[in-house]
Symmetry: C2
Subunit: 134 residues, 2 copies
């Protein structure tokens, strides 16, 4: 699997863990070696693995947390780091996200996520992310 | 200058170009070798150097574009890539930004910027970014 496809696979694993409300899968998505940070929509920055994972535990344990799917994901690789930008579909509204990954062992792990509102929408024919695990 | 300080310096150069409405300085901030993308607040993703710089020309040529200062910048280095998260102060309101840089030649160049709304505020004693050029 090439780098770009591997990064898109890791990006989809993030959204799959989100949809499944699977905190163990979410934990596995995030880097264990590199600094991690997260900006949930409207929130301030969360820095540090323990703090980031605590935020996800709170979100994933909330039965009202949204079902999020990525759309129109685009990946760029910068050596041992990579960036995915994608829309996040929640019902019929969209957020836009920047997800940064670092190469770690034989795969890519998430090191940063920021999502926020957008008035834009993905192309109407954009499928779920290539590499989606379903 | 260590990597972290050099990245913060590049981050401040970005905001300085923004404040000065200096399109040449803004052009110099962005990578010429690596893929670039940009998510202005509320916008969709802009991908490609020509498209990103066109968006900045439009913003910087608008006399009503805001005066933006970074606050509480935090940097993490991932080999030849780096991430700065910071608040953006606009009058008395704040946005939150993720700025990704790539090592290029003897410095660091911006490859991605996303800014969006936040209800959080930086610590009250947070100064402008260390390395500020003033």
């Amino acid at each position: 699997m090439g780098d770009e496809q591997a990064v898109l696979f890791a990006n989809e694993a993030f959204y799959q863990a989100f949809r499944d409300r699977d905190i163990d899968a979410m934990d596995a998505v995030w880097s264990r070696r590199a600094p991690v940070s997260c900006v949930h929509p409207g929130w301030g920055p969360i820095r540090g693995r323990a703090e980031v994972m605590e935020s996800w535990r709170n979100i994933l344990s909330n039965p009202e947390s949204p079902v999020v799917e990525s759309r129109a994901a685009s990946v760029s690789v910068y050596g041992d780091a990579a960036l995915v930008t994608c829309f996040e579909r929640i019902d019929d509204t969209y957020l836009i996200a920047s997800n940064m990954f670092a190469r770690e062992g034989d795969g890519w792990r998430l090191v940063h996520h920021q999502a926020g509102p957008t008035t834009a929408t993905p192309p109407p024919d954009s499928d779920p992310t290539p590499g989606a695990m379903h």
